[in-house]
């Protein structure tokens, strides 16, 4: 999502707490509720998929049936009835879309409300947008400009058709089907998502952006994103998410896989603002996401930046597998929880190659009665000579009914590696609030200012337009938490 001028003004004018809480009336085609082989065949058929992919899905489904929902995370939620979910919902389209003019005007209006007019104006901000609405990728802008550079940026369902060899080679290569319960589920039923391919020596000329939105009731969103950057290529990819305000909980179980070859560099930024539920904890998105990047090539680099303000339950650990020698993994995270939100998030840095380096900066902010957990693993394998990690986890508490936890796991299997871990927990002090108020700032402005200051090291990693949006979001998600 891009903070165009209008986005910012909408945020400023907003009076309701969750400004994305509208839903759109579009004609929708849905699969019946429930999950079985037929549904998977239906999804696969809808997308005209090759046989290998259907088999891949069916295999994932079989594995999933034998798996258990993980229970180690510090989150509580009622049991999910996986048979009570629609696994496919798509805005009805008559034919394949060639240009934006053919997109349902209602849909375009939704995007405009979200602040991403899918128009050529985007050109100015240099961002190409792929928008996923419920299960289908609706329109991808600027594809022509990108394809001149050899960059492929399209819905993954389309990549399956146009570049099957790439998809086949890399799909599941970073997050194996059976990696965890939700990745297996996603592999069985994923509906759409983005595909990015950056060829050798190409620095992608614009930031690529995907906008995810869950619109339909009782619909799960299972998107799948695959980004491959060849030798010495570079891409910066932005992901934004919202959902309408609904009383029921909705499930979002995405898988994101990144592959960086020699000297390649991937910067992946997320501003996650799924509906968090109301102030009594009713409704909201369950966000169970598996994100992982593989630094396959020497000197490659993968950097995750996330600002997590939404969802009622978040379970998410964007990770890096550092295989190439001297490869670099970074994780910058701001996770804010308010009211009854629960977040268990962090990262895994797996050091395999020599001289691999990772940096983890995590800022957790808890307000209301929320629970905020940082869970991070740093694993230095025997082969990772001279590997280095630096971890800094800071928690900020607002009020005294919330809690913050820091759970670092460090496995160091060789001696000549260096792992540093720092953690702090602080409260916004009365003194700080009073100082700001004495200068005329009200409680909310003061809190937002202090929290944004606390997150600064992470915020500065975000692309500029995103950072403005994220700053406002932090203010909004903490509304009513002090005073």
């Amino acid at each position: 999502m891009v903070a165009s001028k209008e986005t910012i003004s909408v945020v400023e004018q907003t009076t309701s707490k969750y400004k994305y809480g509208f839903s759109t009336k579009v004609d929708v085609e849905k699969a019946p509720k429930g999950l079985n082989e037929d549904i998977i065949k239906f999804i696969s058929g809808k997308k005209n998929e090759p046989k290998w992919l259907l088999e891949w899905r069916l295999n994932a489904y079989k594995q999933w049936l034998n798996m258990k929902e993980p229970s180690w995370a510090k989150v509580n939620y009622p049991e999910i009835d996986f048979q009570d979910i629609h696994y496919y919902a798509a805005p009805k389209v008559k034919k394949k879309l060639k240009s934006l003019d053919e997109v349902d005007p209602e849909l375009l209006k939704t995007y405009e409300k979200l602040g991403i007019p899918l128009s050529e104006q985007k050109m100015l901000s240099g961002v190409a947008v792929d928008a996923v609405f419920d299960s289908v990728s609706v329109a991808t802008t600027f594809r022509e400009k990108l394809s001149k550079e050899g960059v492929i940026f399209c819905p993954i369902s389309e990549a399956v058709q146009s570049h099957p060899e790439l998809v086949k080679k890399y799909l599941g290569s970073v997050v194996p089907v059976t990696d965890n319960y939700y990745s297996a589920l996603n592999s069985a039923v994923f509906t759409d998502g983005s595909f990015v391919f950056i060829p050798k020596n190409v620095k992608c000329p614009m930031e690529l952006s995907t906008y995810f939105r869950i619109n339909e009731q009782n619909t799960g969103q299972f998107e799948r994103t695959l980004i491959i950057v060849e030798d010495a290529g570079y891409v910066s990819y932005l992901e934004g998410c919202t959902a309408p305000q609904r009383d029921e909980n909705q499930l979002h179980a995405a898988v994101v896989e990144l592959v960086a070859l020699e000297d390649a560099s991937i910067k992946y930024s997320t501003v996650q603002n799924w509906y968090p539920g109301d102030e009594n904890g009713k409704g909201g998105i369950y966000n169970f996401v598996t994100k992982r990047g593989k630094c396959l090539g020497d000197r490659s680099k993968i950097s995750w930046t996330q600002v997590e303000t939404g969802s009622s339950v978040t379970w998410k650990y964007p990770s890096c597998v550092l295989m190439g020698n001297n490869s670099v993994g970074e994780f910058y995270s701001v996770a804010i929880t308010n009211n009854f939100q629960q977040a268990d998030t962090g990262t895994k840095m797996i050091h395999i190659g020599k001289g691999t380096k990772s940096t983890i900066i995590s800022k957790g902010i808890s307000a209301g009665k929320s629970q905020n957990t940082y869970r991070g693993q740093v694993q230095i394998q025997k082969t990772a000579k001279n590997a280095r990690n630096f971890t800094q986890c800071d928690s900020l508490l607002i009020g005294d009914k919330c809690s913050a936890h820091t759970i670092p796991y460090i496995n160091q299997n060789i001696s000549n590696a260096k792992v540093e871990h720092e953690a702090t927990t602080s409260k916004i002090s009365e003194e700080q609030l009073f100082y700001c108020k004495q200068r005329g700032l009200d409680d909310e402005t003061a809190t937002s200012l202090i929290v944004n200051g606390f997150c600064k090291e992470v915020m500065k990693e975000l692309p500029m337009e995103f950072a403005v949006e994220a700053q406002k979001l932090i203010g909004i998600s903490l509304e009513g938490s002090v005073g």
Binding site: F434, Y435, K437, Q438, R439, G440, L441, G453
Partner: protein, 250 residues
């Protein structure tokens, strides 16, 4: 015209009486100095005036600019033109000084019915005033009060006063920890600011500052009351004799 009128205020902290009936009137155009030994309640008085939580009066009244001050929240008091230069300015890690100033100034400007300054206009104005306080541009990029020296913190407080153009400025021990040069800079700032449309209360432990900021009235706060009021000469007597003779149990 009265800008501040304190009538017989009482306050206890944790059941210990701190102020036991303080009254004070300040008119526009006046400079008042409040002196007194350590722990006599000078900062407490400044917190009461600025509306810090936990400083609720057990009795008494305070009028500010013809309004009941106690009805206003801390930020409303600031908006209405009451400024406190803190004895111990507070650090705000990660909050850039320039942004902080701009946020505060634009809120105040709104109340004054002036239009918001855009980033460039503001930066220009802030730098102009900052240089008069010998504050370098580089310092304004740093986080509020983080890593500032004692003197820098105090100069930054006065810069905020200049930018916010309050009707009443309360300076709590702004002189403490300053060397003579810094003391002159700070005093110059205050002297340039004070005029017939505003008033200043200088809280200080020492007479030294009052050589530079010459008060119209000096009050000695001790034992929870204003023991004595007079002109600038009172401060000189204190310098010579200490608080002995004025304070019962000093």
């Amino acid at each position: 015209m009265s800008i501040l009128n304190i009538k017989d205020i009482h306050l206890s902290i944790e059941e210990k009486p701190i102020l036991k009936g303080v009254s004070l009137n300040v008119n526009l155009g006046e400079v008042h100095a409040i002196m007194g030994p350590n722990g006599s309640g000078k900062s407490t008085l400044s917190y009461i005036l600025s509306g810090k939580e936990g400083y609720d009066l057990s009795s008494g009244e305070i009028n500010f600019d013809n309004k009941d001050l106690l009805e206003l929240s801390a930020n409303e008091r600031s908006n209405q033109g009451l400024f406190l230069a803190f004895q111990y300015p507070v650090e705000l890690p990660g909050v850039s000084s320039m942004n902080f100033l701009r946020e505060a100034v634009n809120i105040r400007r709104k109340v004054l019915g002036k239009k918001e300054l855009n980033h460039l206009e503001f930066v220009k104005e802030a730098r102009r005033l900052a240089s008069s306080m010998f504050i370098k541009d580089e310092m304004l990029k740093r986080s509020v009060n983080v890593g500032f020296s004692g003197g820098e913190k105090k100069r930054f407080e006065i810069l905020q006063m200049m930018l916010l153009e309050p009707k009443l400025a309360i300076l709590d021990e702004t002189d403490s920890g300053l060397d003579v040069d810094a003391l002159k800079i700070v005093s110059n700032g205050v002297n340039n600011y004070k005029g017939k449309d505003n008033a200043v209360i200088v809280i200080t432990h020492y007479q030294r500052l009052l050589d530079y900021i010459v008060p119209d009235y000096v009050h000695i706060l001790a034992d929870g009351v204003i023991k004595k009021s007079g002109g600038p000469e009172l401060a000189k007597i204190i310098e010579k004799n200490g608080y002995a003779g004025i304070v019962d149990a000093a």
